[in-house]
Amino acid sequence: MIYTSSSLAIIVFLVMVLGTVALSFYLGSKAKSSAGYFAAGGEIPWFVNGIAFAGDYLSAASFLGICGMIAFYGFDGFLYSIGYLAGWLVALLVIAEPLKRLGKYTFADALASKFQSSGIRSAAGLSTLVVSLVYLIPQMVGAGALVKPLLGLQYWQGVVLVGSIVVVIVVTAGMVSTTYVQFLKGGLLVLFSLVLSIMVLNRGLTRSDGEARTVPQRITVDEQKNKYIDGVRLGLKQDQSNVQPVGRVLELNGGKTSTGPLGPISFLTELSGAKIELSQTVKSTQDGKPVIEYAPRVVEGSAMMAPGNHPTFQGIRQQQWFPKLDFISLMLALFGGTASLPHILIRYYTVKDQASARKSTIVGIATIGFFYLLTLYIGFGAMVSGSMDPSDSNMAAPLLAKSFSELLFAAVSAIAFTTVLGTVSGLIVAAGGCVAHDFVAGMLGMQLSDQQLIRVAKIASIAIGAIAILAGLAFEGMNVTYLVGWAFAIAASANLPALLMLLFYKGTTKQGIITGVLLGTVSSVLWIALCPEMYKSMYGLDPKYAWVPFSQPGIVTIPLSFLAILVVSKMTAPSGDLRPI
């Protein structure tokens, strides 16, 4: 679909981005010490930190990806909402307080606290860098996809723009500005999602005029790479044609034409009994040239409230074991990954004590949980709004907003963009801090002053920002939600077993932790590199030649890491008193 860039959207976007950068410069002038740069001096109020958790965590994948997936495939998108939130209980109930008690700046601090081992620091630093980079990729891909309709820019321009702005934010101020940017962004995101959900409920469901479509919309490409829709040049000029939006109600329960305003429960029951027209993308080739068809697809509302519509989850409807294991593995990674993400873990050091760490996590869970409930209404609302772009599910939420008003579209798109900025800046702060503390000061043992440490972290942030830009360009077109699932799987395999074993198994040794972190990182990365999804989407090869039978590694690599820590700890156990931390 070709979009017109709205001047209102551009103005709102510029105001938000310039406001964010100005806030960074202002707060940056106040954070001079190393503790201020890396951990905001431990002085962030717990409530602000709790909302900032939401800002850090609710990434482009959460907002654009989940809402889009629900809009196109129904309940499957909500499975991510459930998994992402469930992981927060692991963080609250077993990780938050010990991490605050044991660490100072990075996740490696907590792991290394018992043994004062540079080996643990190096291993944990490596896992932090790998997880941060893998998690940065979908954020950059999301940014590139978002600026196309919002500002009329090319994909690569969006990726470079986000990377550059974030590096400026991080280099100017560090954790203080990042926290307040996250606080504002998290608050605005939940507020506007609530507004959007209320408007969806107030609009209710209305039967669309006209019969169900029978003919697909057909996109073809000529030798000059010009695109045509049903034989007419694709574009916005008078003699050109655009892709028609999809997603409408064909029939309502009891033959009604409209339901009028609905409540949260009646919306779901009415939708469950409705018949909905959606679109299905079919890709093929004709005379060696690509052909894309957006074929009409009529579905029952109740079928969209069942899992298994999206290709990622179709396995649970099958009898074979591997697709079922793939699904279980993904849900396990989402459950274990949250409490292992570096940019989430370092936020525990920005508050003053364990009680504040606990309270801020509870505020974070309440905010994030409320948002995830809203994704159900935004996603289903978009599904029947008659405004969805069949070529891009990520645009479902912004286009739903556009179906209400241009101003709401501008605000939602700008917030979605700052969502990407917020998450990317959190990840780059975590990775930059890890290079300064875990590698330069920890592994190499260099004695650096506060200012030198900050300088190292800033240089590292610029380098990581550059790598993120390149990775974002390389992974163009890759499924954003899938990439996020992999980042969670690596985090859960590398970090969670080591943290839990350190806290709950008194016989854990430093060799055990190092082995677990390294094995968890390497095995999950290798599994992903050799999996069917990578063969299909990245290498362009037949997935049946993949070395591993399914694409989500967690169900194998998380237990493997636990086992490695247990076995190596038994083998290297010293004689003497061993107590759990």
């Binding site: 309940f75 209980l89 692991v90 077993v94 459950f335 509870i362 995830y372």
Partner: protein, 85 residues
Amino acid sequence: MHHPANTTEHEEIHVIAKRQRIGVILLLFFTLAYASFIGLCTFAYEWITQTKIAGIPLTVAYGVGLILLSLVIAMLYGLLSRTKS
């Protein structure tokens, strides 16, 4: 002989251990609810997709229920931790 500092430290260790125990119990309870949901979706697909509660498919009701349960457990833990401190 009574040492106030050691007593305080001992009490703190006791409180931390007790809070950790509460956290583990609550997490096990939630894990059971979460794992049951995944298990039903994977191995009892027909049943969970065709059962309805108050007109809403069980998949949606269970999913929303898990999110609400997370919020309740978080609040409960906050409350119990405050009392125990």
